[in-house]
């Protein structure tokens, strides 16, 4: 008998047909309601040597490479409460399964927001931390990495541990929150987190300008990014056929934004718009493989040009150096990744296949300091029971 199934008061059931991770069926689904239950479940799983994959809203559970095994899905959707909102201190904390939209709702009444774009509808706090999801506003506010100020976690062996805290300024001990961000559920289970908030600006206006190609949009991007008008976002959207669009977001006071919009519009030859192209969403359809390409700022338009020349639809943050590209069926993904990986690496970045990597393609590509990452993984999860095989270097 598995220790996991004998826990009293904890919801553990056999997996249903829909409980799969990237196509891999799970055996059990556990649905804890508290960090203590997560701890008990992890302890039991550790004892039984069971592989655990955390799941929140499952909006993008299928994205990373398939895990090498999946005994238990740890379903965090019942841990969905906003725990604390201190408006005067501009902080909020919420459980891992809380949808971002619910956090936003809770703080909006005080004129505040968690400055993370909801790029994929339904995203939860745990999923956001695990994937370091980001959208256009990262130019002004950074990503989850920059906004998380404290995390509570449960380790693979069931031990509960926290780092950071509820004050913005804090250098006591290691910043393990950062280590959790982007770790794709392979280091520990995040049970809750504290974030810093920002005031909702009085006014927000998008501007749009177009150019025939990414390469010819270079000067538009350069002007927007290096402007003292301080854009909150500089987005690029480019198709193999059709124009390249540059969208610029200005946020601030009504008076200030009106004047800044005028100046930026004149400089770029831009017009105001309701939203950026495609709102905040990712390019392509859900069925298409998706790449994330990062580079130094000065190389963004050239890399976008390469992607477009290869037949990809590119969209992303030209102001941060982060592009997403959708790969249509007609394009050889292996060749495209090869070319883009070489170019982005030379420009100080990387190319990662977020979704839909064929089995023979390394989704993550070469990663510096991999040996050290491996030893961090081995310390946190010596048995490799947390989402094994999903992460860099097969971790």
């Amino acid at each position: 008998m598995l220790a996991l199934t004998t826990l009293s008061d904890v919801d553990v059931r056999d997996a249903a047909e829909s409980d799969v991770v990237a196509g891999l069926p799970a055996r059990l689904v556990a649905r804890p309601t508290s960090p203590e239950q997560v701890s008990a479940l992890m302890r039991a799983a550790y004892e039984d040597d069971l592989v655990v994959v955390p799941r929140a809203a499952a909006t993008m559970l299928h994205w990373a490479p398939r895990p090498t095994a999946c005994d238990v899905i740890l379903d965090l959707s019942a841990m969905d409460r906003v725990l604390e909102h201190q408006a005067g201190d501009l902080i909020v904390s919420a459980e891992a399964g809380t949808p971002l939209s619910r956090v936003q709702e809770a703080v909006r009444a005080s004129g505040q927001r968690l400055a993370i774009d909801e790029v994929v509808p339904g995203s939860t706090i745990g999923g956001l931390i695990a994937t370091n999801l980001s959208g256009p506003r990262r130019v002004a506010y950074g990503t989850a990495r920059d906004l998380v100020i404290g995390v509570s976690t449960v380790r693979a062996d069931g031990v509960m541990a926290k780092s950071g805290g509820k004050v913005v300024k804090n250098v006591a001990g290691y910043d393990l929150g950062k280590l959790m961000v982007g770790s794709h559920g392979t280091l520990a289970i995040v049970t809750s987190a504290y974030f810093r908030l920002h005031p909702i600006p009085e006014a927000a206006v998008w501007l749009r300008a177009t150019a025939p190609s990414p390469r010819s949009a270079q000067s538009l991007v350069h002007q927007a990014v290096h402007s003292q008008v301080v854009p909150a976002a500089v987005e690029i959207d480019a198709h193999p056929t059709g124009e390249t669009t540059i969208s610029v977001l200005l946020e601030g006071t009504s008076v200030g934004v009106a004047a800044r919009v005028d100046r930026m519009a004149t400089a770029l030859g831009a017009t105001t718009a309701e939203s950026p192209i495609g709102d905040l969403g990712l390019p392509g359809t859900d069925a298409q493989p998706l790449l994330k390409i990062t580079s130094q700022l000065s190389a963004v338009t050239e890399i976008a040009q390469t992607a477009v020349d290869l037949g990809l639809h590119v969209r992303g943050s030209a102001g941060a150096g982060v592009l997403f590209a959708a790969v249509p069926d007609s394009v050889d993904i292996v060749r495209a990744v090869d070319i883009l990986r070489a170019e982005s690496t030379a420009a100080g970045g990387a190319t990662v296949v977020l979704r839909g990597a064929p089995d023979h393609l390394d989704a993550w590509g070469p990663v510096p300091a991999l040996d050290l990452m491996r030893s961090v993984k081995n310390r946190f999860d010596p048995q490799h029971l947390l989402s094994p095989g999903r992460f860099v270097g097969g971790l």
């Binding site: 005067g88 920059d146 290691y174 910043d175 130094q296 150096g321 993550w364 050290l372 946190f380 010596p382």
Partner: protein
Amino acid sequence: MSNSSTPASARLVPEVGLGSVDVVRARLARELPPGALITDRTRLRTYECDGLLLYRVTPALVVLAQDADMIQRAVRACSDARVPFVARGSGTGLSGGALPHADGVLIVTSQLRTIREISPDDQRAVVDPGVINLQVSEATRPGGYYFAPDPSSQQICSVGGNVAENSGGAHCLKYGFTTTHVTSVNMVTPQGDSITLGTRAPDAPGYDLLGTFVGSEGTLGVATEITVRLTRSPESVQTLLAGFRSTDDAGAATSAIIGAGIVPAAIEMMDALAIEAAEAAVACGYPDGAGAVLVVELDGPREEVEHEFAQVQQMCQEHGSFEIRVAADDEDRAAIWRGRKSAFAAVGRISPDYIVQDGVIPRTALAAVLREMNELAERRGVRVANVFHAGDGNLHPLVLFDESIPGQGDTAEEVSGAIIDLCLEHGGSITGEHGVGSDKAHHMPKMFTADDLDTMQLVRCAFDPAGIANPGKIYPTPRLCGERPGKRTEPHPAQLAGQAEVF
């Protein structure tokens, strides 16, 4: 199913054993140019402490590195011989982070002062670890950019030290701490490997080891080259100095400003005693009779700054400011900041001795904490001057005392410790920017459980299984890396054998 390359059982083997620094000295004497090695007792004493003068230890050996390769050679020699090493930048740290190890090597980076690259187009600069913070801004400002983290020590502290401490400064309320402004670090691991963390671009794939390294106080290795993010120079800057009758009034004004959704570049507060000290030192001409002053700075696009600056002035008035001085030009602005930035040093003018504390509280607890702090000081018969980053609740109480009066030093230390407890009671932190170092390791268990600290040690053990990188800092009694986590029953055999005390 388990594809771990290190089986769990291997972790049970303790990795301990302290080698002799004599072996390292002999090896480095062969491997390094003569000028790079300091062995002379008198010169070694130059490095016996950092900005926290309270603790002094003479290092056994100092390496004055002239390039990254020398750092690597020094660390390799330490690693092979299992000898502790401590990195040191400019030695301005206030928590004893760069306090040397008596039987170890101090690796000094202060000669590594080359700015390798400035690229405004990429908003990046690449610098040696010993480059002085302010020099980065001076070198990049002509191209329209600067390096945002600005500790008050920016004229002397090194970027390597900033990275190790995750330093803050007056402007990090709006712009964030050092960690937001570093995208990549070349470092030598405690095992002597030279590796790169992060990339020039954001979101490097893999674990965010860089984010963990920043703020690790030299316990995870030595930074040899740092890529920093540059910030566009603001089009407009406006600074004001507002005098208030009390810190309560100044605090209320601060809350009003933040509550209105304004994010100033800086909001700094000084209380009456701190003003007195600053006046004595630099005659900054702060408003007469002020019980508190606020320095508020806004920066950004011209129109935004103008609009919000008017609001800020009004809010200061509404909350009792009796005098507001607006800087008309850069010179005025410098004068306003001079008083604030000299405050620490200035306290020496009004008190023979003082302790700088560095605690954090949720900003809304400010009034309560200041009141309780004053009661505490009064009860114990010492004075406390306050200079702090009001916007983010980072307090720097200066506990004044006179060492020549028997017992006062001890009392001041007790008060200083009690202030930390006060911060924790209000949900804050034991340090906002100066770090834990040697000074506050004993406070860590008040903020974190044994399990929390053990978990941090997992990272330490991954980087530094032999525990030779700046041992004794940050963590009160870190366990040996080979031990099973979660079971702490008796002293480790190696400790009993007298081999492992340093860890």
